[in-house]
Subunit: 402 residues, 2 copies
């Protein structure tokens, strides 16, 4: 809990090392035919053996019944209450494609849309045009200049892209131009403060130029802007917990979130093997590592039960390599559940295990899955409780009060 009072009084620097492995979309639901979840179906002897030597439980990322996005799911695991620490949508989109935001940059989530000849919205997503069609359009938009500010335009995927406005004295509190329904014209951006009004003015100039470039097209002849936001100015994770954290993640989104929390983002390769190489190479540089495993979530989102089982087995085969590094505390957690049966993120509590040789002897569960974790030693916890537990298990927390 980043907002735990007295945190700086009780955190203690030690030589012990913590690895938090976040398995994206870890939790699942039983397969209708077998009654067993992805974790229960997978052959994961190494994770199961680790669970037998770990304190197990389940975490709730945001609140009961709430399905988190990647941002809130990860913030919670690092102790930031996702209801208090909210990342702007523009910033999250920019960070998700690896853009490096300065503290005063305004990031905007944009997409192509289609207007009729009266300027009225007929399709808010321009028929979800694929990247192959949108990329040349983004390329054209990236030539737009607006006096007094620097403009960066980057494609995301399909009909989506990001605009960043860099300049002095810009505020982020600007209204969306998306009216949220067809049959209306796009709205003008409006600032809710003087600084935001300056941003709105620059954005309006950009929109005008975009209309000039796109206006003659049949579809994707206009853009919508949403989620104007600035990089948040939050307490750094390392400062809050007196840690020196390093982040190892193959996907830009997770590197971006780590960077927003002030972690040192270590360059790595494109898959988990590369991540483990990076972890090993930088083992002496940090006392806390955030290690991210993406494939489980992707398979779950695809609704592919067997594929998700496969990603968990792939992960399991690499667990011995992770354990061989000799961390004092290894935790396996998830940012949210992504049950294959729902083919989407979900609100279901997420399995957790914390392995610590010194403090968890004899508290283990028979296996690493939803069922065993639910009845495990840690019971059901808010995800925001995790960092203090990791600190406690690694001997990095002093007693509170005499």
């Amino acid at each position: 809990m980043i907002d735990f009072p007295y945190l700086n009084e009780i955190c203690r620097k030690t030589d012990s090392r913590i690895v938090l492995l976040v398995v994206d979309g870890l939790g699942g639901l039983p397969h209708p035919q077998t009654g067993r979840s992805e974790l229960e179906t997978a052959n994961i002897p190494n994770l199961d053996a680790l669970a037998s030597r770990s304190a197990c439980g389940v975490t709730t990322p945001v609140a009961t019944g709430i399905t988190p996005g990647s941002g809130p799911g990860h913030l919670a695991l690092f102790g930031y209450d996702p209801l208090k620490y909210v990342i702007g949508r523009g910033v999250l989109e920019a960070v998700g494609i690896g853009m490096d935001l300065g503290p005063d940059d305004i990031a905007i989530r944009c997409n192509f849309c289609t207007l009729d000849s009266d300027g009225v919205l007929t399709d808010r997503r321009a028929g979800r045009i694929p990247t192959s069609e949108s990329a040349p359009l983004v390329e054209q938009l990236s030539n737009i200049t607006v006096p007094g500010v620097e403009i960066m335009v980057q494609p995301v995927q399909d009909y989506r892209f990001v605009v960043v406005i860099r300049g002095d004295g810009l505020g982020g509190d600007v209204t969306d131009t998306d009216p949220q329904r067809t049959g209306f014209a796009p709205l003008d951006p409006a600032g809710r403060s003087d600084a935001a009004q300056r941003t709105a003015h620059k954005a309006a100039r950009f929109i005008e130029s975009a209309r000039d470039i796109l206006g003659s097209r049949d579809i994707a002849n206009m853009i919508l802007m949403r989620g104007f936001s600035r990089r948040p100015d939050w307490p750094a994770f390392g400062d809050a917990y007196s840690l020196n954290p390093g982040a190892v993640a193959a996907y830009p989104m997770y590197r971006g979130i780590a960077s927003l929390l002030g972690m040192n983002v270590i360059p790595t390769g494109r898959d988990f093997d590369a991540e483990l190489d990076t972890l090993s190479d930088h083992w002496d540089d940090h006392d806390f590592f955030f290690l991210h495993y993406k494939p489980a979530d992707a398979a779950g989102e695809d609704g592919d039960f067997d594929a998700k089982v496969g990603t968990l087995e792939e992960l399991d085969r690499r667990i011995p390599r992770l354990l061989d590094l000799g961390a004092d505390v290894v935790a396996v957690a998830g940012d949210h559940s992504t049950p294959s049966t729902l083919a989407a993120h979900s609100w279901h509590p997420v399995p957790l295990m914390i392995n610590s040789q010194s403090t968890n002897e004899g508290l283990g569960s028979p296996g690493f899955n939803e069922r065993h974790c639910r009845s495990g030693y840690l019971g059901s916890l808010p995800a925001t409780a995790l960092p203090l537990l990791l600190m406690a298990h690694s001997g990095k927390l002093d007693k509170f009060g005499a």
Copy 2:
């Protein structure tokens, strides 16, 4: 929960009687060889039988992962959120040795330290000199007078002692003189308000005289002051819950905490048998008794697994005597865990059972230990929830709302 809204509207005076037995450091962890905790190893037929007729659960004293000191651990059991109700370190130290603090007294946690000939700290604890060496020094310091205030000096243990300043218009918000590291001179006390500035001035006069007395010594030639504080002015436990509480505790620390919460502290002897005599003698005087059992914590802190098992068996033999008194509700709780394997207080949840003949029939657990309590009827609770549960089980709470 002392801060539960409408508390005074729903509390009801009745003839029923509650005993809350606090077993200090009750919770433990499995022995590495046997996989069984102290409670699971101990032969405790009476506590186990009581569990079979009780609602069982586990309590978290402060927050997940937080290891509580004795102060926070007890405050929580009485419903005071230990993050909101914080006892000053000086007050806790004074209360711990049985000093009787007035509402305006300033208590200061002091210790001997060693300076070199340049006045620079070389040892913040004066080589941890034993009580036999420090007692005569404390005796000398107790002769110091400061104009306009009364000064009390009492030994604690080894290199530690307490100074209390009694006078009009003194504030407690004074900075420590301990610079927290060697190589620096002790700091001057400084007040953060006019009243605190008066205290700082008196403290500085005391320090000057102490330097005159000690200065020619090789070690323990100076003192450090920390934790300036005043007795807190909190709602009394009895007023909050409409109870008439009596405290029976052999150790000064726990009598002191009870006194800070406005309980009637009943004089008693030096061990649990004496406490039970006292309880019996005063049975008709109170409707709530806080009964404290210390030995389990001491054995746990010593890291002596077998000794802790022994203290639990000692306690168990006295349970029939406690039950014979005929309380309507008997609860057995702990202020925190003290696993022998860690030889220290810890953050692990603490077993709890609440016995009430009228309301708990058929809800029992097979035994009184961490494992059975974790899966018991009450599940996992914040410790601050305990008083309302005790009130409910004894028929002292009206319905909330119509």
